[in-house]
């Protein structure tokens, strides 16, 4: 029996990064709905957000609007998640997922 020729592992295109993620539970729910992994979903969403920031002045203004002074010396600003976004997301969640979140 002959073995297939050795195929070197393709180079890693992605790199690991450690992030704080309060939206973790929400991401898990959407990843389940979309049928993919949380990391891939995060990559997709953050890539979209980055493109939007880099190309749309209105989004850059939005980021600026939600900055508040940081009390740490490490960063000058904190970036708060807009409350109405979270409310809208909560309303848009599928019924059973919403119950799960509240539980």
């Amino acid at each position: 029996m002959t073995h297939p020729p050795f195929q070197p592992t393709p180079p890693r295109h992605k790199r690991p990064i450690l992030l704080d993620l309060p939206l973790d539970e929400l991401m898990v729910i959407i990843a389940r709905v979309v049928d993919t992994s949380v990391a891939q979903l995060a990559n997709f969403f953050i890539a979209y957000g980055a493109v939007t920031y880099l190309t749309e002045e209105s989004f850059r203004m939005e980021v600026e609007k939600h900055r508040t002074r940081s009390r740490t010396i490490k960063f000058l600003w904190n970036l708060q998640l807009p409350e109405h976004w979270l409310n809208l997301i909560q309303e848009a969640l599928p019924e059973e997922e919403n119950d799960e979140q509240q539980a």
Binding site: H13, P16, Y48, A50
Partner: protein, 140 residues
């Protein structure tokens, strides 16, 4: 908390006959005094940290934008995520783009691989290059 002790004995004593709660407390070891924790330790306990595999362009974009706005990368990532999540629910076009960016994969773990569209990554690269040129990046 990992428990490497023999569950049947504690300091050589037979604890099998003890009350379940007492036995568990003994095996658990030192109970942390929550009121003695520093603010940083309390914050660290509440943090939800996760390692993500992201495209190098996306990581670079996070780094550059966070630097530009003088905020942390995590805060920025959360903001961008929240925006995209909202859009996922509100804009059918965005949800469609997401569906179109999935391709089947034959692993036991997932049925689909989701990749950020090449156009987006290309856009990020171009804009970051422009930013770096504007600021004479790396030139002191």
């Amino acid at each position: 908390m990992s428990n490497k002790r023999n569950p049947a004995s504690f300091s050589g004593l037979d604890i099998q006959g003890l009350d379940v709660d007492v036995r568990q407390t003994l095996l658990q070891g030192a109970v942390p005094n929550k009121s003695a924790l520093t603010a940083k330790q309390r914050w660290d306990r509440k943090r939800k940290r996760r390692t993500f595999d992201l495209n190098p362009e996306v990581i670079e974009a996070l780094r550059v934008i966070a630097e530009e706005e003088r905020i942390s990368m995590s805060r920025l990532a959360n903001f961008l995520l929240a925006r995209a999540i909202l859009l996922y629910f509100q804009a059918p076009d965005f949800a469609r783009t997401l569906d179109e960016s999935k391709r089947p994969v034959y692993t036991s773990q997932f049925d689909w691989v989701l990749e950020a569209p090449a156009v987006w990554l290309q856009g990020i690269r171009e804009h970051l290059d422009a930013l770096k040129r504007r600021k004479n990046w790396g030139v002191k």
